[in-house]
Symmetry: C2
Subunit: 187 residues, 2 copies
DNA sequence: TTTGATAACGAACATTTTGTTCGTTTTTAT
DNA sequence: ATAAAAACGAACAAAATGTTCGTTATCAAA
């Protein structure tokens, strides 16, 4: 990709993120994004069709990154299969979040966080599912597998939201411990 | 409240709900709501400040109803404290949803369902919390109580979403059974 | 270092949406 | 029957959207 394109793309993402920190998504106008990013009106529309499109692309950049990294992680360690190794996927994810790459925390704690959470969960669902099918599970056969998958990824995302809303007082390891406590008993 | 006010309020809510079934919240204009509801522009703005305000009021009407009814339910039965009575609060909630009063299912299955889910969860959190404090719990003291509260209401809401997205194949009793299976082990 | 391609730019534009004002008509509650 | 209040519609300014077009600046590759 052309260096200029990368630059404006980054500028728009950055401006958009900043704006999200101060006002809800619905109140942000394209004009404001343009001004904050210091790009021409035409340029904005050359990159993104609409504001919604911009949001979608930002999410893909954000979560594609994190989930891909977690995917690698699951190749070596299972979901939670091998004892209590701190290298569990969920702990890995939490650490990744804590590093706050691309200001993901800012976005997950802004007024419009639900939008991002939904993207997050959709991506996570795929990851959890891919892990589940590789596991030969014996218990709880009366409960649909995709119910469990949904429960796990849903709970995780809700936990992350709780964590961030409480200003991230806990360490990833602590959180992981909590999460184990509510998930492992049902596996 | 004046009969005329009730009528226009209902007409606007109804029109808004119908529109949500066909397009996402962000793409719905006040003009469309006005046209669908057959009310004057001035009238709309006499009732609601903005589209967001309309959404908020609708949610309050929807969930205030359901949660209040569930609150009554918790006075007789505890959260899940008394064995496996089918009259548990969660089962009650699910039944209430299934009745589809005020087309709540339509709203929870539309493209913009996340918005409603968030309101739902916020209301539910209060309900779960009020039940928790009345319980003298002994186990899992190392896990923060509000983590558990968040986990329970979060999981419930995610389950409801999963249920609706799968076209509500399960009965409320079945769902309640699944939910018990993932929640009771940690209580 | 030239050069052809392409990205960014800004000004201008029609169109849509928003939110408000005001005078009139209709409906309500008493 | 009547006074109060609600609904109405037309008209309006202001703001936001999305597109066009000709110009300028930057890039990548020869």
């Amino acid at each position: 990709m052309d260096r200029r394109q990368k630059k404006t793309r980054a500028a728009i993402f950055s401006a958009f993120s900043s704006l999200l920190a101060e006002k809800p998504y619905s109140k942000i106008t394209v004009q404001e994004i343009i001004d904050a990013a210091n790009v021409g009106r035409t340029t904005f529309y050359a990159h993104f069709e609409t504001k919604d499109d911009l949001l979608k692309e930002l999410c893909e950049e954000l979560f594609g990154h994190i989930i891909a990294s977690a995917m690698d992680c699951t190749h070596t360690h299972g979901l939670y299969s091998d004892g209590n190794a701190p290298e569990s996927v969920f702990c890995h994810l939490l650490q990744h979040l804590q590093e706050n790459d691309k200001n993901i925390i800012g976005l997950l704690s802004c007024e419009s966080s639900e939008i991002f959470l939904r993207y997050f969960k959709d991506n996570l669902n795929g990851l959890v599912e891919s892990q589940f099918v590789n596991q030969n599970r014996t218990t709880n056969t009366h409960i649909p597998q995709n119910f469990l998958i949904n429960h796990i990824s849903g709970s995780f995302v809700e936990m992350v939201l709780w964590w961030i809303k409480g200003h991230m007082k806990q360490t990833p390891a602590e959180l992981d411990c909590y999460f184990r406590a509510v998930i492992e008993p049902i596996l």
